[in-house]
Symmetry: C2
């Protein structure tokens, strides 16, 4: 069963008395009166990260992915909690040193503080990370309007190539291998745009499961559709090289997830101020499509207005 249907069918009724849960239909919890914003995510070895060969990098990846949930909502994280389950091997002295040193670096980079958690013994390695921030308001899901522009920060697909390299399904030059693997482990989180987004975006999400998967989640309760312009979906210079060399097709890698870019929609009237705001902060942003009435079919089109079908639209958790 699809994760959404599952939540809806068996758990939505339990949260219906409680507005702050946002109907369990957002990535965060928001108690407006307490100004409290919370995000909780579980990461399992073999599902959310391949293995624990690089504990320091895995910890960076999952912590950034957790922070990203708040940042894309216009909220700056303050505290984080880690519940770690694992065995003696996963939590050897050497690994713990690496984890601790990575957390220390991330704390300094993002001004966040380890605030608690739990450590339990388990054969299977997993982490649950809770991040907490305080804010008067957040950017919610399902607030897109017809004719809104659709934007995405940074580039898509690099992380997917990094994963392919780590899985030994692709091998490039040493420099390119390093570049893409770094993009997989250390997504850039644009903390400095976060508060500004509150006044620019109508609705937002971070791309963890894939461009299309997350775009559909973003408007899942709205009667809307979208059009995306294939050529405007941003990829890095290095990924462009691979595409030009026919090592991979663009349509294969733009909706595979783990990008942790911000996907948002905004009124067309905000177009100029968005371009300027992102330029001022040195953050790449691309207008990649627009929101349409539900009477139209959602589609991705190329320069000749031809429909492009993606084989992979991203990751949908199912049971």
């Amino acid at each position: 069963m699809h994760e959404f249907e599952l939540i809806k069918k068996y758990f939505s009724n339990l949260s219906s008395y409680n507005k702050s849960s946002l109907d369990l239909n957002d990535d965060v919890f928001f108690d407006k009166s307490k100004k409290l914003v919370i995000s909780i995510d579980t990461y399992i070895e073999g599902v959310h990260f391949i293995d624990f060969r690089y504990p320091g990098l895995v910890i960076k990846k999952i912590l950034r992915s957790s922070i990203s949930d708040l940042i894309c909502k216009g909220v700056y994280p303050k505290y984080y909690f880690i519940s770690a389950s694992g065995n003696k091997k996963s939590f050897s002295k050497n690994n713990l040193k690496k984890i601790s040193s990575s957390l220390n670096q991330e704390q300094k980079k993002y001004s966040i503080y380890l605030s608690g958690g739990d450590t339990v013994f388990s054969k299977k390695l997993s982490f649950t990370i809770t991040t907490i921030g305080f804010s008067n308001k957040i950017i919610s899901r399902n607030r897109a309007k017809v004719n809104d522009d659709i934007y995405v920060t940074g580039n898509l697909g690099d992380s997917f190539i990094g994963l392919k390299i780590l899985k030994k399904k692709l091998n490039l030059s040493k420099i390119l291998n390093n570049y893409f693997q770094k993009k997989y482990f250390c997504p850039e989180i644009y903390t400095n745009i976060s508060k500004k987004l509150l006044s620019l975006a109508n609705t937002s999400i971070d791309i963890s499961d894939g461009l299309i998967a997350d775009l559909e989640k973003l408007i899942n309760k709205q009667k809307l559709s979208y059009i995306l312009y294939f050529k405007d979906i941003p990829v890095s210079k290095n990924l462009k090289k691979l595409i030009n060399l026919k090592k991979i097709k663009k349509q294969t890698c733009i909706s595979r997830g783990d990008d942790y870019q911000i996907l948002f929609t905004a009124s067309r009237s905000k177009s100029r101020i968005i371009a300027q705001s992102f330029k001022d902060l040195g953050i790449k942003v691309s207008k990649i499509g627009k929101i349409c009435p539900v009477s139209q079919k959602s589609q991705i089109i190329d320069e000749k207005n031809k429909n492009i079908t993606l084989k992979n639209k991203g990751y949908f958790h199912s049971f």
Copy 2:
């Protein structure tokens, strides 16, 4: 490595800038300026619960155990979050119905609200539960004073007998089997004493790992010792029956954990008001010992002042 040493060695430095973490040495996080109290616990199949034969009961047990963390600190829980990892079998329709129905009952019983979480696929079943409450103050660990009385609510050991029955290591009459198994799955949480405790107790903890294990945790940063009066450690009428029938020894079952009773210390001057307050609310409370200067050795003594040694002092998580 012992869970405490592990946390201390590798993670305490990461939380040192952050007073709210209570040095990672309490079961809760407390941000005084935001009045925010948080508890996070992870429960693993085979470690924290035997198996998932009774999903509705397992969910009750782990949710109550999470609530208990806040209640024993004088804080009433308001929100809870569940991150569930499991496979198709664990989260079959039938099991989800049972989980949902149990959560519904618990929400009504404790006036708490499901507020979010995560559902992910994993071969191994585990849950991380986050509970949140709001309070101006909490009862901290490590605030005992020399000559404080040591108190415990309810009875100890019933849950351990329930576990033995579930593991088929003990078989009693149907009525007794049911009684003890219920004590294992559905610990009673004394929500109505919680706020009152703030003015009565100097320091407190809930007993999850075992009377002695948790008493030692309660004062782990203080230079103190304790004396416990064996005969005053409370057990139920049903457990007394088993002890009288020599089916089990009292010393075997009073410090095995999973009791979720409140263990606290209080000034001797509060003795009368404590007895009266608990009586008014219909909650059993027993004075079981006192806090001593570190020059004395911690001990449990019988009526003839003879030392009693417990083989099992409770559960210490180690890696």
